[in-house]
Symmetry: C5
Amino acid sequence: MGHIKQHAEMDVDGAMLVEGMPGVGLVGKIATDHLVEEFDMELYGTVHCDSLAPISVYHEGERELLPPVRIYAAPDEDLVALQSDIPVNAAAVSEFADCLVGWLTDEDITPVFLSGLPAEKSGVPELFGISTGDAGGLLEELDIDLPPENGVVSGPTGAFLNEAGEVGLDGVGLVVQSNERFPDPEAARVLIEHGIGPLTGIEVDISELVDRAEEIRKQKEKLAEKMRQAKDEESSKAQPLRMYQ
Amino acid sequence: MGHIKQHAEMDVDGAMLVEGMPGVGLVGKIATDHLVEEFDMELYGTVHCDSLAPISVYHEGERELLPPVRIYAAPDEDLVALQSDIPVNAAAVSEFADCLVGWLTDEDITPVFLSGLPAEKSGVPELFGISTGDAGGLLEELDIDLPPENGVVSGPTGAFLNEAGEVGLDGVGLVVQSNERFPDPEAARVLIEHGIGPLTGIEVDISELVDRAEEIRKQKEKLAEKMRQAKDEESSKAQPLRMYQ
Amino acid sequence: MGHIKQHAEMDVDGAMLVEGMPGVGLVGKIATDHLVEEFDMELYGTVHCDSLAPISVYHEGERELLPPVRIYAAPDEDLVALQSDIPVNAAAVSEFADCLVGWLTDEDITPVFLSGLPAEKSGVPELFGISTGDAGGLLEELDIDLPPENGVVSGPTGAFLNEAGEVGLDGVGLVVQSNERFPDPEAARVLIEHGIGPLTGIEVDISELVDRAEEIRKQKEKLAEKMRQAKDEESSKAQPLRMYQ
Amino acid sequence: MGHIKQHAEMDVDGAMLVEGMPGVGLVGKIATDHLVEEFDMELYGTVHCDSLAPISVYHEGERELLPPVRIYAAPDEDLVALQSDIPVNAAAVSEFADCLVGWLTDEDITPVFLSGLPAEKSGVPELFGISTGDAGGLLEELDIDLPPENGVVSGPTGAFLNEAGEVGLDGVGLVVQSNERFPDPEAARVLIEHGIGPLTGIEVDISELVDRAEEIRKQKEKLAEKMRQAKDEESSKAQPLRMYQ
Amino acid sequence: MGHIKQHAEMDVDGAMLVEGMPGVGLVGKIATDHLVEEFDMELYGTVHCDSLAPISVYHEGERELLPPVRIYAAPDEDLVALQSDIPVNAAAVSEFADCLVGWLTDEDITPVFLSGLPAEKSGVPELFGISTGDAGGLLEELDIDLPPENGVVSGPTGAFLNEAGEVGLDGVGLVVQSNERFPDPEAARVLIEHGIGPLTGIEVDISELVDRAEEIRKQKEKLAEKMRQAKDEESSKAQPLRMYQ
């Protein structure tokens, strides 16, 4: 069975989690990676599911090997982040969702799930918010937009939302218009400025995201390409219901 | 194991259920969606099977996320509806049938399963009725036609009927001639007017179905296309036995 | 687990069963369907295996839905028939064989398994008989021919014979030369006249088979086509060992 | 689970078994079939594994149906033979190996596993012997050659040797140069004359093998063709390690 | 379940293990094979997992058959080596990793996992070291380089490192630049001289590796070709994270 292995003692009870699984435009991953770096978040734990790829990841200038899916925390900000270096294969999605949502429930953490919605944007990407359990009120207070049409969230983020709904966990989903083909740091910026920031009450410096947008696009080009070719179950994505069907 | 999670306290004991899984012409889905809307039916529960796609659905102007297969009820009309936004994959069909029929048995609900039969129609689509358990009498009283030739019902509807027959649940199957390639609101209208209406004793206003036929055809074009390409197990369909073999 | 659900109280103890799974030339199915019709056999029970296609079958002018594999009986003739509307997929073959042979053993029924052997025929199709357990004597008494060369029976009929042999059930296999590509009512006639008739001691009127041969060929063309393309495990067939290898 | 069903009471305790699964050049099968015929060996038992093809085999002029993998015995010669009419599919290989080696251990039988090694031969095919457990001494006494280079035995014979080694059963492997594409009765003759004969101490008349070589080649052409196209796991074969990798 | 079968009584407690699964440039396999030969290491045990290919390996001039994955030991040098003649298929990787790491933990052995990193080399191949548990200190003492950029280790070696990290076993990973297409004895030499030698404190004569480089390249060409075409899970490889994604 999947489980989360805690690496450091940190109090994350009642915190909010930002989820960064790869998907359309890599919007969730870019936003989450930015937060991990910006707040110098510490490794809280690692995620272990039988069907996650059994690989080992290393980082520049560091000896320690890590598994590809990890949880970071900034306890002072009541902030937790789910970071992944790899897509999750279709077989792992449900097991992973069970395991993550179980842990969120135990730790009383409110998740903020992130997804791109492929769109030809004009001006600032539009953002809307959806919810499971009783988290709808959080979105109302902040005047985050309602869904403009019927739609579906698939991929790991869809599975997390589905599982959260089934067990009644309060959770939020933020959906932002995104470039369908390339990494979209601009959409990630909107997620942070208009969604994650207000929801968590944390002020986030997004200048790096803006200044380094081109560099991020290049660096993540290959992963974005991989996600574009991934199966529906493997890439987080929101879509109008009529397009999904 | 698959299960049905109840969301609201409603008395559905002894009601009739209308089943709207996608299939040929989307006749069952269009009829069921119409009833859900027309009677402003409330969410009674959601269906959870391990092999159903773990996605999450949202609706225009609403925060709440829902799973893709749901049960609605109009207790005053003794009416229940099974609504699905997605095809059911082949692996889920049997588990889903077990779970649904078990619940129908427990709640003493009489199901009305709906299926299209691909045909070149001339005039009003023809309708006939078949049954499991002792429900044949219901059809006799209403003078609903008998099958004009040997045939087979496959897909989710076929699996529901098969399971209902195995456990001896009283159930009805309504089969209507349908366009094989496109959404067929006209066939759905016949299902309601000549089948569901008489069976349930409910008067249903079908003017929307008639007036908005073109719109429905467009809106559901993509799903109809998907069902046409689906495997036999995934798309509800009736066929003459000689064509099925 | 597979099981047989009894629908009517009939005494079939000590009867003989004729098996009509689809295979080369549909010889077993045509012969069995003819017997069911000719003797107006009644539904005795239905066969339920997890891996049989979960579909539902209806018949002209009748309300009652039935599963695709069924057992009929004519108790006065001590005759039972296994009728199938569908091929059995490869995954179901072994489970089905276990379940059928277990039931035959419990009810003390002697099965007569039927198979075509693809051949360019000249004159009346040749027939030979093989056996499991101690049923060889039955064939000797009737002077039914011995196999003219080494061979193998595959498909559902092969699995039934294999299982019967393993548990030591007395069973008979009748193999008849058959057209490889098309439904072969003539071969089915030989099975009945020179095999099933003598074995069961029942006089069977085969005029319908002769008169309606062309009609049967047309009606079952599609199924015969399907069987020709089926995998080895799904289509009953006898072959010389050198051709099978 | 796989098991061996005993058909006749015979004392095979302490005997030697000759293994004739199909593989390169069909050398093991040809040698084993020859011994079964030459010594008029009797049916001792049949092999039943869930993943062996559920087919039924008949022989010219005989009523009795048999499963495709069988064990014959000539108790007076202390000789047992494993005869197979079919290749073993990949899924069955390990289960079959477990089951056969377990039985050999219980009955205290020393197996002689047979395999061809594809080679361009000049003159008499070369033969060498390998072993598991403590059977190496048997080969030493008889001056059977050692392997001329590093190599690997795959297919059913490889699985038998692997399993025998794991449980510590004394077993012998005889590897003979063989034609890679066609049935090779000449290599089978060498197996018998220079390997099986000396090991078992039985004098075997091989004149039939020599006289009927052409006929055997023709008769088994189709099976040899099948084995050439089989997956590595399904066709017994020895190869130099550098070729296998 | 996978297990390691001990063949000889040797004290390996507290030793270091060198891992030689095939991967990019076969660097780990070439280094490990060299050590086994150079120190005339003895067979300690054999590795048995259900999903490892059930084949049997023989060596020139020796009777004894062996399974394809084996452990050798040189107790005087406190050295253990994992030698494999075959790639490990994807299904076996996790089971194999569980089984190996469990045994390493029980025997208190520190593993040195080896992997190539595809690169256009100029001059001596670069080497860096990574670690699990508390083994980072070993690398620090020896001034082995840190990773120059973010990266991922996949294949069996990645699975071993992943599992070692999960259970907290102290383990070392050595990554060396390697030719991507051909066996790379030069990279293997660097692994030994600059990594394994210093870590184990053993002086290793590498003249054979240098003198026989061309021969080794030829001999292992086919396996290197196979590894190049293997799936990610089957071939040990390090890569920059941006290339892996």
